[in-house]
C-alpha cells in the first residue's frame, strides 16, 4: 500500500511518500488511520483532528469508511487551497 502526504501533513510528518504493509484486517480508511496513529507521535499529532484531513484512494476523494486493498495509492491532505 502506497501512502502519500501533502502540504502541512507532509511537512509535519517529514515524509512525502511511503510504502507500508498493513495487517490484513485493515480494510478501510478509518482502520488505516487507527493503525497509522500508533506508528509514532508525529502521526498521532497530524491525525488527531480528522476534520482537517481529506483522503483520496487511487486519486479519487473518498470517505473514511471507504474500502482499501493492498495495491491502493492512498493520499492524505488538508482541504485544498489552489486557484
Amino acid at each position: 500500500m502506497k501512502l502519500l502526504y501533502f502540504a502541512w501533513i507532509r511537512t509535519n510528518l517529514g515524509v512525502s511518500e511511503e510504502s507500508v504493509d498493513v495487517p490484513s484486517e485493515i480494510n478501510d480508511v478509518r482502520a488505516l488511520l487507527d493503525w497509522l496513529v500508533n506508528r509514532g507521535e508525529s502521526y498521532k499529532a497530524v491525525f488527531s483532528d480528522l476534520s482537517l484531513i481529506r483522503v483520496a484512494v487511487n486519486q479519487e476523494y473518498v470517505d473514511l469508511d471507504n474500502a482499501i486493498t493492498k495495491g491502493d495509492e492512498i493520499a492524505f491532505f488538508p482541504p485544498v487551497t489552489g486557484g
Partner: protein, 150 residues
C-alpha cells in the same frame, strides 16, 4: 482542455487559440487568479503551490467535463500552475467560450469555484517571518456549494 504546469502562460495567446476558427463563439469569459498580498499585516514575498500530480489532472478533467455537460460550451480551458510564484504572478486561468454570454459566465464561475474546493493544490506563503500553509476558507466551500443547490 486542461494543463498543469510550472511555467507561466500567455493569456492572450491561450484565449486566441481557444476560439480560433470557431465562428459559433459569440462570447468568451475568462478568469485569472493572481498571487495577491493576503498575508496582511505582513507582506508575502512569494508563494509555493504544491499539488498532487495525477490526481490534479483527473480532478480538473472531471470538473471540466461537468461544466460541459451542464452548459453548452464551444470550448473550455483550465491552466493551473504549481511551484514557486511571486506577488502578482498568474496562478490559474479558466476560460469558457459559448454562443451566448450567460452560459460562458456561469460555466467559468462554476469552474473556478469548484476548482478552489476540489483540485488538489496547496499554497505555502513565504513572509519575512517564515512559511505558512494557507488555510482553506469557508467562503470557497459556500461558493462551490451554491452550484449544487441550483
Amino acid at each position: 482542455m486542461i494543463r498543469v504546469q510550472r511555467e507561466d502562460f500567455d493569456m492572450g495567446l491561450e484565449l486566441a487559440k481557444l476560439t480560433k476558427n470557431n465562428h459559433k463563439v459569440g462570447g468568451l469569459t475568462s478568469f485569472v487568479g493572481l498571487v495577491r498580498d493576503i498575508a496582511a499585516p505582513e507582506k508575502i514575498s512569494s508563494m509555493t503551490l504544491e499539488h498532487y500530480p495525477g490526481m490534479t489532472e483527473k480532478q480538473l478533467e472531471h470538473i471540466e467535463s461537468i461544466a460541459n455537460q451542464r452548459w453548452h460550451l464551444e470550448a473550455s480551458l483550465i491552466i493551473h500552475r504549481y511551484g514557486k510564484l511571486d506577488l502578482g504572478d498568474q496562478i490559474v486561468l479558466v476560460a469558457c467560450a459559448s454562443s451566448h454570454r450567460g452560459e460562458a459566465f456561469e460555466a467559468c464561475h462554476f469552474l473556478i469555484d469548484w476548482l478552489k474546493t476540489k483540485a488538489p493544490f496547496w499554497k505555502l506563503e513565504e513572509t519575512a517571518s517564515g512559511s505558512k500553509w494557507v488555510k482553506a476558507i469557508d467562503a470557497d466551500k459556500d461558493a462551490a456549494h451554491r452550484w449544487s443547490l441550483k
